[in-house]
């Protein structure tokens, strides 16, 4: 490798960070295939897509910028109520447009509260984010004339998507819609984390003192990603309202933030797929275990969590090594680049 001209090797390495891996292609192919292969499961798949998007928002701040949050439900809930109110009062009737408006609104709340998480340690941040979510929940509870309070927001009617596709009771439209939104926002997140901006976030996570010493405005970058992540969470919340035509105080619950952290820990942080894989495992387990033992399913989730932490993610990852090695062998691009590199050697 060292015989290669370093310039080309470095350029190749930098660009390779962002290249698509075969397993990624497989993942999304499977996701798209589920539209046709699992038509009877679209309701739970919609839930999974929404939870996955929500977890993606936490991964952006936790996995990349190192901001621990126990209050991501604040933005999820804000987006959920925004979408509900927009539909209920016919303010924005087209669902996709309402989704965007709700996401932007949640991002604004994220921007305003981001200044609270700039200072302090992880523990301070946990408390501050938790506090913001609690405050928002109580505000929603207090202003029942607007939010419906403990009864939830009644009378939400979601108009057809693009004026064409009605949200059906089997969740077909809902799943295609949620999956489409997830894919678009995932691609955007993938672009973001492989950009210089994304790299600077990773450097801030690793060592904020040095990051500032190479000229990175640490606080500005943290505000930016916190705002973006809040927007993602808001879109996830809005999707939930739109696909269920209902929202209630539970969207702002502490449990929602805590479960989210659980999802991300199950799937792993800092590689974007953790939230999605975690969401799939979490929802499927919840579904399966709840059918098995309706009252005790959190017991198994807890057991899994303890097992993951004790065994260690690296060891679990090493179990999937043969699969990844196989995927790499099947990678059609690798063989062509190897030949190209061979040809350039003197």
């Amino acid at each position: 490798m060292s015989q290669q001209p370093p310039g080309e090797e470095i350029a190749r390495r930098l660009v390779a960070r962002a290249s698509w891996q075969p397993l990624e292609v497989l993942f999304w192919a499977a996701a798209l295939a589920s539209i046709y292969v699992l038509p009877g499961r679209h309701l739970i798949l919609t839930e999974i897509a929404i939870l996955g998007l929500f977890a993606l928002s936490l991964d952006l701040i936790l996995g990349y910028a190192g901001i621990v949050s126990l209050g991501q439900a604040a933005f999820f809930g804000f987006g959920a109520y925004a979408a509900g109110l927009l539909a209920k009062y016919d303010l924005v009737t087209e669902p996709l447009l309402a989704l965007i408006v709700s996401g932007v609104a949640a991002a604004l709340v994220g921007f305003v509260t981001s200044f609270l998480v700039l200072r302090g340690s992880d523990l301070t941040r946990i408390m501050v984010t938790l506090g913001v979510a609690l405050v928002l929940r109580e505000i929603a509870n207090r202003y029942a004339w607007l939010t419906g309070g403990a009864d939830g927001l009644q009378g939400v009617e979601i108009k057809p998507l693009f004026g064409l596709y009605r949200f059906d009771m089997f969740g077909h439209t809902a799943f295609c819609y949620a999956l489409g939104v997830l894919i678009v926002l995932f691609l955007l997140a993938r672009r973001i984390v492989h950009s210089p901006f994304g790299l600077s976030l990773q450097s801030i996570k690793g060592n904020p003192v040095r990051a500032a010493a190479v000229g990175i405005p640490v606080n500005g970058r943290l505000v930016a990603i916190y705002t973006i992540a809040a927007g993602y969470a808001g879109v996830a919340g809005a999707l939930l309202t739109q696909t269920t035509a209902f929202t209630s105080l539970s969207v702002l619950d502490f449990e929602r933030s805590a479960d989210l952290l659980l999802v991300l820990i199950i799937g792993g942080t800092g590689y974007l797929y953790g939230g999605l894989i975690g969401a799939i495992l979490f929802k499927l387990m919840q579904d399966y275990l709840a059918a098995l033992t309706p009252q005790y399913w959190p017991f198994w989730i807890g057991l899994l969590l303890v097992a993951i932490v004790l065994i260690g993610r690296e060891r679990i990852m090493s179990w999937t090594k043969p699969i990844r090695a196989l995927a790499r062998r099947l990678d059609w691009r690798r063989s062509t680049t190897a030949v190209a590199v061979e040809g350039q050697r003197p």
Partner: protein, 250 residues
């Protein structure tokens, strides 16, 4: 000669402790200036004041006649002050390629770009190549920084600072902790820094100081004790007493 970096009556107190007291330091443009002094003399505190990590209790700091006293660390980097750290401050999970690409991107103003892939435009790649080759990091450029040998980490520490193309480079004990057989690499790198870069070196290693510096300032108990050419400092009886004597039997 023009003065590149200047402090005016700079003072820093930590409660009752005066770490920097009425320091009036002038570093000339293109200087090879060393700052020496016994342990606890306040050398690193002074660096932290110059780079904005600490806020002075009183006094001013001028960079090329511009007052930078109230500027944040990252803004000072943009104006051309870069530093290395006495204890490595690196990004453990990033590779040398990524670390240097990060600093170069930031300097070229594409650090906040969230749409392009790192390494495009190719100007970034060209710079990264030059720096990694200069600092002999090509052989380890794809390793995680956390697992690099200490000498390589030390080189990366300086490489990151140089990657921000500073006008003033503050080196805080670059050779600290580097094993004897790898020290020549550091000395070599320091000697080959571009001549138009103003360098302020803090160092305990007297070989390095006298090999490198054209001008030496001695700091004792937060006060600028004496300044002069290396020859004058080597002859100075008071310096021998407070400093050189101490290292002689240390």
């Amino acid at each position: 000669m023009t003065v590149m970096l200047e402090t005016i009556a700079l003072e820093k107190r930590f409660g009752g402790l005066v770490a920097t007291s009425n320091v009036a330091l002038k570093v000339e443009k293109g200087a090879r200036h060393a700052l020496i002094g016994p342990n606890g003399a306040g050398k690193t505190t002074l660096i932290n004041l110059l780079t904005g990590v600490l806020r002075p209790t009183a006094g001013r700091i001028l960079l090329d006649e511009r007052d930078i006293t109230s500027l944040k660390p990252h803004s000072r980097v943009k104006l051309g002050i870069a530093r290395t750290f006495q204890i490595n401050q690196l990004f453990a999970e990033l590779t040398p390629i990524e670390t240097v690409a990060l600093a170069v991107s930031e300097r070229l103003g594409c650090g906040k770009n969230w749409w392009r892939i790192v390494g495009r435009p190719s100007q970034v790649t060209d710079e990264v190549v030059k720096i990694l080759e200069n600092f002999r990091l090509v052989d380890v450029m794809n390793e995680r920084t956390a697992i690099l040998p200490y000498g390589k980490q030390r080189l990366l520490e300086i490489a990151v600072a140089v990657a921000s193309a500073p006008r003033v480079l503050l080196l805080d004990e670059p050779a600290a902790g580097v094993p004897e057989d790898e020290r020549h690499m550091i000395l070599d790198i320091v000697a080959r820094l571009p001549g138009d870069v103003t360098v302020l070196l803090i160092e305990h290693d007297m070989d390095l100081v006298f090999q490198f510096a054209k001008w030496i300032s001695v700091l004792v108990n937060g006060v600028l004790f004496v300044e002069g050419s290396p020859e004058a400092i080597a002859r100075d009886e008071r310096v021998r007493q407070v400093y050189l004597g101490e290292t002689g039997h240390g």
